[in-house]
Structures are given as C-alpha cells and as structure tokens.
C-alpha cells in the first residue's frame, strides 16, 4: 500500500464525516429559498449534533442491549461505506475488501439494524416505521443492484473505483442506458434517504412517517449518531451517483498526487449542484401515499431494467 493510497482513504473519510451535515444544511437552505422563507444557518446541523451529544440519554425502560448498540452499528456501517465510495480519488485500499455489491449489503445491514432497534421498544410507531422502511428497502435494493449491474456490465468489474475509472475514460457522448439508470438511481436515492416524494423528512405526523418513526425513541448521543448517519447516507448516495454518472475530476491512478487536493473543490461544486437539484425536486413533488411508494420504486426498477436491455441491444 502506497502512502498516497492511505492518505486518499483517510482524507475521504474525514471529508465525508465533516461535509455530510453541511450537505444537509445546504439542501435545507435551498429548500427555504425556493419556498420563499428565510433560511436557517448552514451550520445548524452541526450545532444540533453537538447539542445532542451533551445531553443525557433517555431510554425506554424495556430497551434491550440491541437498541443501545444499534446507533453505533448504523453509524459504523455508514462510515465504512463512505470509505468504499470513490468520492475524491480511485486509489482506495478499502475497496479491495468490499466491492459494489458489498456496499449494497452494507447499506442493507444499516437498514436492518435500524428496523430491529425500532421494533425493540415495542410501540406501535416503531414497528410501523420498521415495517414501512423494510417495504421501501426490499424494492429499492434490487433497483440499486440493477443500476450497479448495468454499470458493471459496461466496465466488466464490480469494484467501484474501476467502474469510475472506466466510465471517466470513455469518450464523451450520449449513452441512453446510463441515462435510464441515472433516472432509476435518482428515484432510489429519493426513496432510500426518506425524501419527498416517498417520505417527508420534516414531518411531525407519526402516521405518515417512515424514517422518522424509527427515530422517535432515540435521544442525546444515540440520536446524534443516527442523524449523522442519515446525513452520511445521503452524502454516500450522492457520491455513488457522482462516481457512476459524473466521474470526472477525481484523482485516478495516472494523475499526480496534487490532483487529490484539486478534487476537493470539484466535489464541493458537484455537491452544491446536486443539493440544489434535490431541493428543486422536493419542492415540485408532492408526497406519495404509502402504497404508491412500491409503484414508484417499481418504476425505478423498470428504468434500470430498460437501461440494461438498451445496453445489451444497442451496446451504448
């Protein structure tokens, strides 16, 4: 392992941990601007997490050890996922250990532990949230796998850095298969990160919640870790999207080590545009009824399958 690889890996992890709440703050700002409100500060998520860490944890009397352990496991899973996704460079030693399919498995692990912890307390809301989260998950995961499958078919490998490098060095042009899978990926991103139109991240009505319902019981440091993990999840999904569909600007195997520093502003620019786009999408869409969510995800799945078939036929 060369030193540049270790530095890339560590830098990616630090940037992910540091920038994820900022990304969420930026999306909230854009949304406020679009809704003609005055925006909260960009640094509000950080202050929120810091405040939560100082508080006393209030836990339900019947909570088992699984409930207390789950936030750490979910957070750990998201951090390791951030280390596998090539957001700034493609020379990542951790990607030898886990490829794109293992990344999907890691996200599934986080989802399963969140749902199990929600069922642990045994209230109506927690179990409702767990049920809905697993319902969204079991349809979103095959769609995500199909998106990665199409990218793997084009690049003949399932290691994300190799996929990114291959897609970055392809000649610039219109690729309908990638266009279809990009739409599918966007729909999966909205569903998995509890965004409108699948779930409203700012709702207070328990009966409409999917993701928030599982967080009702957490407080203090556990809630801080879960919120940070949710921000990391959105950051990770955005970086997966960049790695597959906007793969330029990363420090690759051939580029000089200084390209690593140059990739930070590129990533910041990509995140800014992506955040604005996400805010626009959230503002123009309405939240779907819960049982329309499977149809939404089935459409995403269909887009991914169409992308696969178009690639097999047209070789584009």
């Amino acid at each position: 392992m060369k030193p540049i690889e270790v530095i890339t890996q560590l830098l990616e992890l630090i940037v992910a941990l540091a920038a994820a709440p900022l990304f969420v703050g930026w999306i909230n700002q854009c949304r406020a601007w679009l809704q003609n409100r005055s925006a909260p500060s960009l640094w509000l998520p950080y202050r929120g997490i810091r405040k939560l860490f100082h508080k006393d944890a209030v836990i339900a009397a019947d909570a088992s050890r699984l409930f207390r352990l789950a936030p750490y496991i979910v957070f750990g899973a998201m951090v390791v996922a951030a280390g596998i996704i090539p957001s700034m460079g493609t020379r990542l030693p951790l990607t030898q250990v886990a490829d794109a399919i293992a990344l999907v498995g890691l996200l599934a692990t986080a989802r399963v532990f969140m749902s199990l912890a929600a069922m642990d307390i045994g209230t109506a809301f927690g179990t409702l949230g767990a049920r809905r989260e697993m319902m969204v998950g079991f349809l979103a995961e095959p769609a995500l796998l199909m998106v990665i499958f199409v990218a793997s078919l084009i690049s003949a490998t399932t290691a994300l850095p190799a996929i990114t490098e291959h897609l970055a060095t392809q000649t610039l042009g219109l690729y309908p298969s990638l266009a279809f899978t990009a739409v599918a990926f966007l729909m999966v991103l909205l569903a998995e990160n509890a965004r409108i139109p699948v779930d409203n991240p700012a709702t207070h009505l328990e009966l409409t919640m999917i993701h928030e319902a599982m967080m009702l019981e957490y407080s203090a440091r556990h809630l801080a870790l879960m919120e940070w993990a949710a921000a990391l999840k959105l950051f990770n999904y955005a970086c997966i999207g960049f790695a597959l569909f906007i793969p330029w600007g990363l420090s690759t195997r051939e580029s000089a080590p200084v390209a690593l520093l140059a990739s930070i502003p590129v990533l910041a620019a990509k995140l800014a545009v992506a955040g604005a786009l996400l805010a626009v999408l959230e503002t123009v869409s309405a939240k779907l009824r819960v049982f329309r969510a499977p149809e939404f995800l089935a459409t995403a799945f269909l887009f991914a399958v169409l992308g696969l078939l178009v690639h097999l036929l047209l070789r584009v």
């Binding site: 009397a61 490829d99 697993m134 079991f138 995961e141």
Partner: protein, 668 residues
C-alpha cells in the same frame, strides 16, 4: 480396528454403522430419557463430528470404491466416495453434530413416541442419509432413499396423537413416494439398455440427447419433490412445523441438500455433462420457487411455517445457480460454470448451518413458551438472551448481510450472473440478467422476512403475560446453538479457503475449474483480473474498528449518563403490547403488493357485531388449482374402478376364471 479406518470410505462406513448401533442401543431402555438424552445423543454427535473431520480431510483424495455383500444375491451394494460425496458428508456431519447436541437437551417427556424409539429413528435417518451420499448403484441408492423417507416420516409423526400431524406426515410420505417413483424411472432410462443398474454402467451408457433430457427431467421432478421445488413443495410447510424442532432442522438443513446432491450426481456424473436447455428449465423452476417461497414466508403467522417457506426460497436459489451452471457448461464457458457451481455448493453449505440454527432456536422458544404462533410471542430477548443473540446471528446470515456466510454465496452467484450476457444464445443472454434482478428481489425479501421473524419473536413487548416466565435454553441446547452459530460465522469470515476446498470438488466432479488465485489468504477473488474481490475478515475488522472507535470516542469526549423512562406514546397513555405490529400486520405490505400469489379469504367484521373479529386465511393457489382437482380426479377414477369390487364371492371367482382362460389362450 485400524484396518477399518485405513481409508476414508471405510472410516465413513464405520461411523454410519456406529450410528445404527447407537440407534439400536436406544431400544435397550426405551423410556429412560436420561440414558437416551444424556448418553446416546451426545455419542451420536461425536460420531457426526468425526464424520465431518474424515470427510473434510478426504476432499482432495481420489475416489474409492467398495462392495458390500448386503442385500439380495447377485445384487450387492456398490459404494463409492468421491469429492462430491465427501462435501455432502461434511455437511451432514457438521450440521448434525450441532443438532444432535441440541436434541440431547431438547427431548423431554410428553412427546408421543418413546425416547428410545425416537433415538432409533433419528440415528437411522442420519445413517440412511450418509448411505445415500455413498451409494454407487441404483439399488443401494433407492434402499437408502426409502429408508431416509420412512425414518423421517416416523420422526415427523412423533406426536401422532394429533390429527393434523398425522395428516402432515401422510402428505409428506405421499409426495416423497411420487418423487421416488420419478427417480426410479430416471434410473431406468439412464441404464441405457445394458440392464445393469450400477452407476458405472450408467456412466458408460451414452444416451442420445433426447433420452438424456428425459432422464434429467425425471430426476428433476423426483429430486425436486424431495427438495421442495414448486409445485411439489406442498409437503414442506406442513411437515416441518409438525416435526419436533431438531428433526425440522435436520430435514431443512441436510435432507433437502441430499436432493441437490442427487441432481448434481445425475447431471454432471451419470449423464456425462448437462445440456444448456436443462439449465433454462432449472433456472425457471428455481426462480419461481425462490419468489413463491419468500412471498409466502412473509405472510405467515406460525414461526416454523415461516422458516419452512424460507427453506423453499433457498432451495429455489440453489436451483437457480444450478441452472446457471448448466447453461454455462452447456455452451462451454467452463470457468463461469465453475463459479456458478461453487456458488451453489457454498449456498447449500451455508443454508444447512443457518436454517438449523434458526430451527433449533425456535425449538428452544417453543419449549419455554409453548407457543408457535407469532401473535403470542414477543420480547423474549430479555428472558432468553442466549437463544436470542445466537438466533440473531442466524437471522442476519439468512438475510444475506455481510460479513456473515449468507452474503458470500449471494455475492458469488451475482458475480456469475454478471457474465451471463456473454452466452452466445440470443434470447438467453438477455433473459439471464433479468434472472439476476429476480435473485436480488428474493434476497431483499428474505431480509424483510428475517426482520419480521426476529422482531416479532424476540423484540418488542411480550404479547402474553405467560411469556414473562420464559426460561433460557439449557447447557446442551446452548452448546448446539453455539456450534451452529460458529459454523455460520466461520463460513463468512474465511470465504477464500472455503472456495479453495470447493474448487477440488468441482474439479473432480464437473471437470471445470477457476483460475488459481493470486490474492492473499484473507481475500476472495474468484476471477483474478476482474478486480472483483471481497474479504469477510477484513470487512468485519473494519466495521468493528469503526464501531469501537466511535464508542470510545463518544465516551472519551462526552459522558455515558442514561435515564430510563416510558416510551413515546404520542399522548395516548394506554399504549399496551397489543398495539405493536402483529405478524399479519408486518406481512400486510407483501400481501398487498403480491396479491395474485395468494388465495385469500377474509372474514370482515360488521359494525353490528357484539364481538367483532377479523380473520384472514391465506391459501396456496397451487394447492387449490393443482392438488385439489388432482385429488378429486383420482377419487373419481378410484370410484369407477370400485365397481369391480362387488363383494360377492362368485364375482371374484369369475375374475380368476377369466384370467385363467385368457392366459391359457395366450400360451397355447
């Protein structure tokens, strides 16, 4: 004694005979639970462990034969041990070691059959499964197969006082025999005119492709009936809940795999190599079974039926991989055929540990609470911590989450599917990637089912007051569960070594192989140069390191003060355990989305009911559309033939007279 052990085949036969002896020893003192439970079953477990060791060390040894002068004159039993037999013997030994130890602590007074008889049936079951794996001619195979079916039938109907259990046993025996007839016919086709029923004769008989396909289809039907492929699956959800839990574990974990062994033996060994069209049939049947099984598992309210349907799903996935391997081998893509075959064998190995662990866990729950219905369980993690935490490992493994073993076989299967578009046949190369989509869907649904299973039984609030007195498993049960859980964890953390062992099997049986690995020992890279690699151990270390760092970091910079309070009730003070999600509720999204699969009957309450009730019956459409009409057809045909049974002696004498006259006319 040493002479008996000088070759692995002799060692295996000795251990199988020892099982038989242990079974017979149970008859000496049939009512003594202490003798049977504390002495004989642990002895059986030791034999199983020894069998696993012998089989593992003989994986790379060349095949060897033996002839037993048992049976009819001129028809001795031929036996042969090769790498495939060794692998499945290892599966049998390792899984049944844990299950036997669990059973030693499990069987208590009050079951229908006496303990000694149970011991005989159990060990006869184990020995017959071993003999199936070693048989080298059709006669020995069918004798062992029938013994396996009969001994498991008696085990399933242990509590024969209950009508529903007798009915489940009858259905099981019926379909087992339908399958056995199909297997017998397959052997009949495979002997190819030489009228010698040894497997060597079958290997040398070169059948025309049409007849080879007929033999394969018959074998698929026969072995599929035993494995639980749709539509011959109807016995599984009935027999597994009816049997005692260790028996269910043995049936799901090992017996279903003997059927997979049968298909592998027939297609790769006896028929000389599969055709790609067989692969498409196996793929279609496998995918349908996988989806059907997991959708029904999500709608169940009985914990053992849920696990039974989940077994159907896993068998479907195994046959999907098998179909893929056939397609690759049929078109000559040998490396990929090896990859698919290794994924299949790995999944079979994984499932035997994961499912046995879960079935044994449910056995412990059933013993301590007396409940099988998910609607009356809950919150057992506080009263049964050993069972709960070990079952968590099983549930996470079955859900296919890294770094446990379920994920590795899925990863290998998806890697094999990734290259399916290179198959030169036109429609096939587009349909196969769609098959990957369905496998991914089945895997995601399996995670859903496992969250439902684990969450409703072990987490949440207890739904009945009696659950507060639940006690944890006893020492022997704990040892069995730990053994099986260790198996799950080990298979997940060292996948490269397991794949290396499986390569020897695949090389010997199917004559295909993966390229030699160039990666370090802790990394699994099946196809070097493709840059697709996975390491269970490193993954586990990475996640654990981050988690531990987070815990210590938080404790270092902040504090660990905790207060306890009541859960969030949204202002509704009378929240109780009944308001949690029930098993029906958790399965409702699946019932809604996959409605065409189910035959549902609902009883809805009206506003004028004094005691309103809501009931939903979920039936199997295949049972309604296939088995019930078939049953009534058989009944009608039987009724028309009942005309012949007049009851009058004169008529019967007339029949004999007509037959005699006809025979004389023919002969003379």
């Amino acid at each position: 004694m040493i002479a008996l052990l000088h070759s692995p085949l002799d060692a295996c036969l000795t251990l199988l005979a020892l099982w038989g002896l242990i079974g017979l020893a149970g008859l000496l003192r049939p009512r003594s639970l202490r003798y049977v439970g504390r002495t004989l079953f642990p002895l059986g477990a030791l034999c199983a462990a020894a069998l696993a060791v012998v089989a593992f060390t003989s994986l790379s040894a060349p095949p060897e034969r033996a002839v037993l002068i048992v049976g009819l004159p001129d028809l001795p039993m031929h036996l042969r041990r090769d790498a495939l037999s060794s692998l499945f013997l290892f599966m049998l030994g390792a899984a049944s070691a844990g299950i036997s130890v669990f059973a030693a602590g499990y069987f208590r007074r009050g079951h229908g059959t006496s303990a000694g008889l149970l011991c005989l049936q159990y060990h006869l079951f184990l020995a017959s499964m071993g003999l199936v794996l070693l048989a080298d001619d059709a006669y020995a195979f069918m004798v062992a197969w029938e013994t396996m079916a009969l001994s498991s039938y008696f085990l399933v109907t242990t509590q024969h006082g209950l009508g529903e259990i007798r009915r489940a046993g009858f259905l099981y025996l019926l379909i087992a025999h339908v399958g056995a007839i199909a297997i017998l016919l397959a052997f009949g086709v495979m002997q190819g005119g030489s009228w010698q029923f040894t497997f060597d004769a079958m290997r040398q008989a070169h059948l025309r492709p049409v007849w080879a396909s007929v033999a394969f289809l018959l074998a698929l039907v026969g072995f599929g009936a035993k494995a639980g492929l749709v539509p011959l699956h109807v016995w599984l959800p009935e027999a597994h809940p009816a049997a005692p839990s260790p028996v269910s574990a043995l049936m799901s974990g090992v017996m279903l795999k003997t059927a997979v062994y049968g298909v592998l033996r027939v297609s790769f060994d006896l028929l000389g190599g599969p055709q790609s069209s067989w692969g498409l049939v196996a793929l279609a049947v496998g995918l349908f079974s996988a989806l059907y099984g997991v959708v029904f598992a999500a709608a169940q309210t009985d914990m053992k039926r849920l696990l039974a349907w989940s077994s159907i799903e896993n068998v479907g996935i195994i046959f999907t991989g098998l179909g893929l391997a056939f397609v690759f081998r049929g078109v000559g893509m040998r490396g990929l055929a090896a990859l698919a075959l290794i994924a299949v064998l790995y999944h079979a190995l994984n499932h035997s540990f994961m499912k046995s662990l879960l079935f044994c866990g449910t056995g412990a729950v059933l013993h301590s609470t007396g409940e099988r219905n998910l609607g009356r369980l809950g919150g057992l993690i506080r009263h049964m911590p050993w069972v709960a935490w070990l079952s968590l490992i099983g549930a996470l493994a079955l859900a296919g989450l890294p770094p446990l073993n379920g994920f590795v076989s899925e990863w290998l299967l998806l890697q094999a599917f990734l290259f399916a578009h290179q198959v030169p046949q036109t429609f096939v190369n587009m349909l196969l990637p769609l098959g990957a989509a369905l496998v991914a869907l089945a895997a995601a649904l399996a995670a859903y089912v496992m969250v439902k299973f684990y969450g409703v039984i072990f987490l949440g609030q207890p739904r009945e007051a009696t659950l507060l007195r639940a006690h944890d498993a006893n020492v022997l049960e704990r040892i069995g569960l730990v053994w099986l859980a260790l198996g799950c964890v080990t298979l997940g953390l060292v996948p490269a070594q397991v794949v290396a062992a499986l390569r020897t099997v695949v090389r010997q049986v199917a004559h295909v192989d993966l390229p030699n690995p160039t990666a370090p020992w802790w990394l699994l890279e099946p196809l070097p140069g493709r840059q697709a690699s996975y390491s269970g151990l490193a993954f586990f270390v990475a996640v654990t390191t981050v988690v531990l760092l987070t815990i210590f970091g938080v404790r270092l910079f902040y504090h660990r003060r905790v207060r306890h309070a009541a859960p969030w009730d949204c202002g509704f003070a009378r929240l109780d355990a009944r308001m949690q999600d029930s098993a029906e509720g958790f399965g409702q999204p699946i019932r809604h989305i996959f409605e065409p699969f189910f035959a549902m009957q609902r009883e809805l309450p009206s506003p004028f009911d004094r005691a309103p009730r809501y009931r939903v019956f979920i039936g199997d459409r295949i049972w309604q559309r296939l088995y019930e009409p078939l049953g009534s057809l058989v009944q009608k045909v039987a009724d028309t033939f009942a005309v012949l049974q007049q009851g009058r002696i004169a008529t019967y004498l007339l029949y004999s007279f007509i037959t005699l006259v006809a025979l004389l006319a023919v002969v003379l």
